[in-house]
Amino acid sequence: MIEILTIPGVILIIGAVLLSLLPQKIRSSAFLIFPIAALAFVLTRPDGYSVTASLGNFELIVMEVDALSRVFGIIFAITAFVAGTYAWHIKDLGQQINALVYAGSALGVTYAGDLLSLIIFWELMAVSSTWLIWANRTEASDKAGTRYLLYHILGGGLLLAGIIWHYMTTGSLMVESLEQNYTIANVLMLVGVAINAAVIPLHTWLADAYPKATITGAVFMSAFTTKSAVYVLIRVFPGWELLIWFGAAMAIYGVVYAVICKDIREILAYHIISQVGFMVCGIGIGTDMALNGATAHAYSHILYKSLLFMSTGAVLYATGTSKLVHLGGLAKKMPYVLGLYLVGGFSISGLPLFNGYISKSMTISAAGYAHNEMAMLMLLFASVGTFLSVGLKLPYYTWFGKEDNDIDVKPIPKNMYIGMGIAAFACIFYGLYPQALYMYLPFEYDYNPFTVYHFVEITQISLMTFAGFWLLRKKLAGELIIALDVDWFYRKAAPLTRKVFVNGVDNFYDRVEDKIWDIARFLTQKFKNPMTWLNPFTDRNNEATRYSPAMEVVMSLILFTVLVFSLLYLI
């Protein structure tokens, strides 16, 4: 039983509880201990290690280790540490606790050996991450957080329904790969997971909520929700062909919207959708190389995307705005943040010597080797868009673009630099030594990203993308607009839905309640003294309540006797 406490996810959740007992001064530092402890357990547990527990009649496998869960465990623990460093200056207990619970439940999902433990951590993840949006305490974040939570409750509900259905038909609760077979149970589970993976058209919660989360909360969010869903997809749905096309479509959809969007964090949010598209596409292809590629890309993605969210967060922290139209000309005022951002920007664009290159090229080539050339070209098309928005448009209109900007730039805390520095170091480290990542990949597959072909491919694409950007850069300038997405349907339908399902039901219950009170009032009045209406021969103020005690005793005796006799007679 004590072993349960050593599950990496549980360590972080226990950490969250302990955190609430600590004084504010040491809380931020204590936060960092738990991811390190979790990382130690992640690295030392051998393949096949498992922890079981029983819940009612179910034997739960709350932790099961293999190569796939280990690689996700490592990166989740590292990110919790990096994001914790970045958020070291935060004093808000609610955010700290929820961030730790959130990271812990993502780790819990990663190691869950059965579907029941998985869904428990899954729901915990949704609830704790919602706090990171609400913690911003603006009207927009309140509303966006509620939409986010509702969306995830829907997703969790579908997943749970699928799990129950799956259990009823197969009798198995194991987390294992399913044959491609579109039964109701499988489809329910797939849709439930797809919501968390932000597969279009179920992606709107992401682009809606992430830009409205707190600066530090967004860093946590960019890492865990979508990537734990990617993990579940790799584990349960590898080789489901539908995913190829949904993935490729996501990749393109994300980059097109990123061109339209004019808010730096919104651009990055759409790029999460796009990058997860690469992974989903790889999962759909389902060869060893493609699954390795999806895993490696998730790993790289978490690093560079958290770096990107950290550095745009630093801009937002320093200037108070994330709108491109107000930014620009910050190169002299925030040169280090620019440098750190560019490491992330070049990584996500897959430029050589950065970590995106070692994983993106693997995913794209996997499509090519599987002779799915259409998918390969779609992914290449998407990577043009990635470089265009994250590598060029965003930094150009944030740090350059204007000669000077009279916007006030607040100094940012040192710990933010440290957090960004660690992530930037990791991006470059893995870019130079891909073996450090490849050795943890789940499948045996020899792959060398440093070939002339890949170098020529990505360099030509990037150079000409740059040329295209430079020609048309004026078209990408910031404006004060919002871009509608498919969330329009539910956001516009919200007032009507509220009228029918909330206000309508509310009114109904209000009326029923009023009526019940009326009836209760009526009855208490009448039964306070029933003699007033039972005995029509007395006046209203009769003296029934004033019988002497002796008289009452005699009357009750008579009544009792009558009752007993009538009962005896009936029997």
Binding site: V255, V256, Y257, V259, I260, G368, E373, M376, L377, L380, F381, V384, G385, L388, V452, Y453, F455, V456, E457, I458, T459, Q460, I461, S462, L463, M464, T465, F466, A467, G468, F469, W470, L471, L472, K475, L476, L480, I481, I482, A483, L484, D485, R491
Partner: protein, 70 residues
Amino acid sequence: MKNWHWIILGILFLVTLVLEFTYLADYDSHWWNSIPAFYALFGFVSCIVIIYFAKFIAKNIVNRDINYYD
């Protein structure tokens, strides 16, 4: 962008072309590898297409005033 920036990018592009025509002549697993400098063309055309397509959608369908939902 200063002139020497452009010169560096130009040299880099020439290097990729040289590499392509010297090392990769027999690389034929995809149909597009027979097109010289395919990836350069692909990158440029894709970039233009994405920008114009996104602008088209933005202008005609999705762009709204910033207070649209309030």
